[in-house]
Symmetry: C2
Subunit: 356 residues, 2 copies
């Protein structure tokens, strides 16, 4: 596990505006939280040793065949279970990406190659349409939309890679699918691929990262192997209850892509924030298709900037220099409420003046 | 994972009295639950990637050195982490015992030997004072108090085994330590052993099995290796909060053995229930040092008895025939409230009449 994930507010004193985590500030989770309060007594009983009932509900809600959903204690457990189920594989990871793919692969004896499909993350339109994977790759990890960049691996590219490498298992992490207007395929649309596993998370869209609930959709044959590695009771009782709530929610909505209802407003606010940061001296801003994006400070390190903002302004950003392929100037910003975005801009301004 | 753990009430319709799980029916967890309700908003934030703060609090509360506590998502995650950290070991498991030791060992490539220290589980005083482990054993698993028998591995025996096999790592699961009057050593008293890991659980004593919180105390050197296998955020935010509550509780109590306050009454009720069952035709009862115990039906299988009690009487028992060394007549009973114990006795009576 790396030291340096986002949302590390416990390192500092008072943080009044947190841009470091991609969890959506405006998530309307009041119905979910009410539901969980009503299920508080579930804590008094064991959940099912393996959450079969919840898996069946999710399959039904998505319109998927039996055996094609595997529930886990957060998307992170899903990542570790997949790495364990296919221990020792030759894995290719499209970088930069969420660090846990690499950590889980190393822990389970994979031979890991990092792939950098983009020459410059700060130019272009943020859509990746060309990429190669090395011959003999047995497992390929794609974060889509990509954390930390907010870039998209184009549907045509993903389809082409999956179809042309039938002997390779593709793991596509769609934890941020709710946060893009790009038409990513739904679980049902992806179900035809026998060599694909797709990761989903409740953490980001419903803003309950403390709960730990994730799930995998994909090939029943592959998931049988993944499920055999899962310990009993790995999903706590409130997380199971939240999954039941979510299954009902997607089951009753007309579309199963699960986009946020307030997505347009969030992305518009993101556009405004990016433009404002780009106008500041010594800061570069990368393209994005979600509500978070990369920036680069040219005249200092991201660590210095982060430290200044946290201590002097109570503002937390994500130092992104520990992602493979990113240098020490890179940081990640997740769009917040307009009044907080103003605080960030004022903090950045003040850092720039101080460093002159 | 075996299919056939206790608390499998979802298999049946209405269950009015549940003897199948060792979770304590009378746990006074109202203060804990109030505390958790007050920490409900913790779900809105990531917990620490690794729960270092909680580990430090538990070390302080127990009077232990830094690095000697490792927190996990339930004692079950602790078992799997230990098996993974020492993958491929030659493991000896004292049987019968909680099935997850064996499952975790097999999952991580251990060479497993089952050890049966007792010739007859139904005779004697339930204290095990003699046992051998095979030469070359690298890891030895002891459930103490033992689930499913309620028997105790005597302190002298455990001390002798640990001292005479310095090259073997001992894993002693004390999840039920709160439920016995036998003077098991506290974490601080066991801290001197460089080859010992001790498992603890909040599930049983505080009756919150849906929460998933456990921890290991023991050698800092061994725990460093265990911790390196733990994925980030494996302990959910409410479980972390519960751990903080528990640390305060043991820190402020005069003894760190954490025995239940109502233990004497519970064990007295257990004694009465055992005597009543032993007086029934065709049923044998084994000795115990906790609130749960083994029984054996001589004229049918435990599966038949369980099915009858669940369907006809709304009473759930634990078919224990899937524990190594136990035959198909064996079942486990966890003592419940007197009025429920009467329902069980009446159900057993009615089964015996029906089967005549």
């Amino acid at each position: 596990m790396i030291y340096g994930h986002g949302d590390d507010r416990w390192r500092y004193g008072h943080i009044s505006a947190d841009f470091s985590s991609n969890v959506y500030y405006g998530a309307d989770n009041s119905a979910l939280l009410d539901y969980l309060r009503g299920h508080f007594d579930d804590l008094l009983h064991y959940p099912e040793p393996a959450p079969h009932t919840l898996e069946a509900r999710l399959e039904e809600a998505y319109g998927l065949a039996p055996g094609t959903v595997c529930v886990s204690g957060g998307a992170t457990e899903a990542i570790y279970l997949i790495a364990q189920a296919f221990a020792g594989s030759r894995s290719a990871i499209f970088q930069p990406a969420f660090s846990e793919y690499s950590d889980a692969c190393h822990q389970h004896g994979h031979f890991v190659k990092h792939i950098f499909a983009q020459a410059d993350l700060f130019s272009g339109d943020g859509i990746i349409s060309e990429a190669q994977i090395p011959d003999g790759t047995q497992m390929c990890w794609i974060c889509n939309p990509c954390n930390p960049t907010g870039h998209i691996y184009a549907n045509e590219l993903v389809e082409r890679l999956i179809a042309s490498h039938p002997g390779c298992i593709f793991v596509m992490d769609q934890s941020y699918a709710a946060f893009t207007r790009y038409p990513l395929p739904s679980p049902a649309e992806l179900a035809a691929h026998p060599n694909l596993l797709v990761l989903h998370s409740l953490t980001k869209s419903h803003a309950v990262p403390g709960l730990r609930l994730g799930w995998i959709t994909g090939s029943a044959r592959l998931l049988e192997r993944v499920r055999s590695c899962r310990m009993p009771w790995s999903v706590n009782a409130l997380a199971v209850a939240a999954g039941m709530f979510f299954a009902e929610e997607i089951g009753s909505s007309s579309q199963t892509r699960g986009r946020l209802s307030g997505l347009d407003g969030l992305l518009e606010e993101c556009r405004r924030l990016r433009e404002s940061i780009a106008s500041l001296e010594g800061l570069r801003v990368a393209p994005t298709h979600t509500h978070f994006f990369l920036c680069r400070t040219e005249n200092s390190t991201a660590a210095e900037l982060k430290d200044y903002l946290a201590r002097e302004q109570g503002v937390l950003i994500r130092d992104a220099s520990n992602f493979p392929g990113l240098d020490e100037g890179c940081f990640r910003i997740a769009t917040q409420k307009p009044e907080f975005n103003k605080i960030l801009l004022s903090g950045l301004n003040s850092f720039i003046s101080t460093n002159k």
